[in-house]
């Protein structure tokens, strides 16, 4: 990490990777996702002191900007292309030794319902608590926890199917 002394850099160091992953859920390409994150981060930085839960607010900003981007750029076809070729631009660094397993997990993630995938990303890679996720996706804490549980179950099922093939 190229962390700096500025407070905003600490925020980016801590959440940047998860934000990229989250934005790619709607945006697809990494470069576009980073454009979205830049816009969202600036929006977050201007208002961070006026919100009660800044971490949740940061993720909410990214989601909002990504959805705006998708609406504005006819992203659907691009996203479908990205889903069709998940190997073209991996969402993860090659940290798992078993590359096939990594690809299977990535493909399963792409096919998760958006509402479950966003909660999973925030929880696993963003390290957010359920109350923070609840703020970010504007649902109750119980709903956030349920979506996380459903996401794990669905991933497990998809990976099991993948293993049988």
């Amino acid at each position: 990490m190229a962390g700096g002394g500025d407070p905003w850099q600490l925020w980016l160091d801590q959440h940047g990777a998860a934000l990229v992953l989250l934005a790619r859920q709607w945006v697809g390409g990494r470069a576009d996702a980073e454009d979205v994150i830049q816009e969202a981060f600036i929006r977050f930085w201007r208002s961070r002191e006026r919100v009660a839960e800044p971490v949740g607010y940061l993720y909410a900003c990214v989601k909002r900007c990504a959805l705006d981007w998708r609406r504005g750029c006819e992203r659907r076809s691009r996203r479908e292309q990205a889903i069709a070729r998940p190997e073209a631009e991996s969402r993860f660094a090659a940290s798992l030794e078993d590359r096939e397993r990594r690809d299977a997990i990535e493909a399963a993630l792409v096919h998760l319902p958006e509402k479950q995938a966003e909660v999973l990303v925030m929880r696993i890679w963003g390290g957010l608590s359920f109350p923070q996720i609840a703020v970010a996706v504007e649902v109750s804490v119980d709903t956030a926890a349920s979506r996380y549980r459903y996401a794990l179950e669905r991933l497990r099922e998809q990976l099991a199917e993948e293993a049988l093939l």
Binding site: W45, L96, I124, R149, L155
Partner: protein, 146 residues
């Protein structure tokens, strides 16, 4: 939640998403730097405008103090005050009626009604006749004295 021991969860955590590129970091840094500069420019402009305004107000006050304007005295106000203190509104007189006529028809009617009711106990008919039957020509000398 018992996902702490979930092997799938552990496996997911082992996956590391890509960190933001240096370009993203640079872009955010530049924009945040620009946002912090803009308010200071705005503040300087605001401070300059406030200073100019304060200077204008100060000079206006200073000039006004050096050259005091004479108090404008309207010619009609002192006589009105004097006459008002001389004549009693509760009594019918040419002055009070002329004054009421200068106001409005309603004011005149109100005055007439007031005087009529005030003298109703004594001789309202006489008062009414005296007021309404006298011609304007008879008022003129009286009004001229005012």
């Amino acid at each position: 939640m018992n996902e702490q021991g979930d092997p799938l969860e552990a496996e997911l955590r082992a996956l590391s998403p890509h960190v933001p590129s240096p370009q993203l970091r640079q872009g955010i840094g530049e924009r945040i730097a620009a946002e912090t500069v803009i308010p200071s420019r705005r503040f300087r402009r605001l401070a300059l405008a406030a200073s100019l305004l304060a200077a204008c107000i100060a000079s206006a006050v200073y000039l006004r103090r050096d050259d005091p304007q004479p108090v404008a005295v309207t010619p009609s106000s002192p006589p009105d005050v004097a006459v008002a203190s001389t004549f009693d509104d509760s009594m019918p007189s040419a002055w009070v009626y002329r004054r009421a006529m200068r106001g409005s028809a309603d004011e005149l009617n109100a005055l007439l009604a007031k005087h009529a009711s005030a003298f109703a106990g004594t001789d309202a008919r006489l008062v009414t006749v005296n007021i309404l039957m006298r011609s304007d020509t008879k008022f003129d000398p009286v009004l001229g004295e005012l």
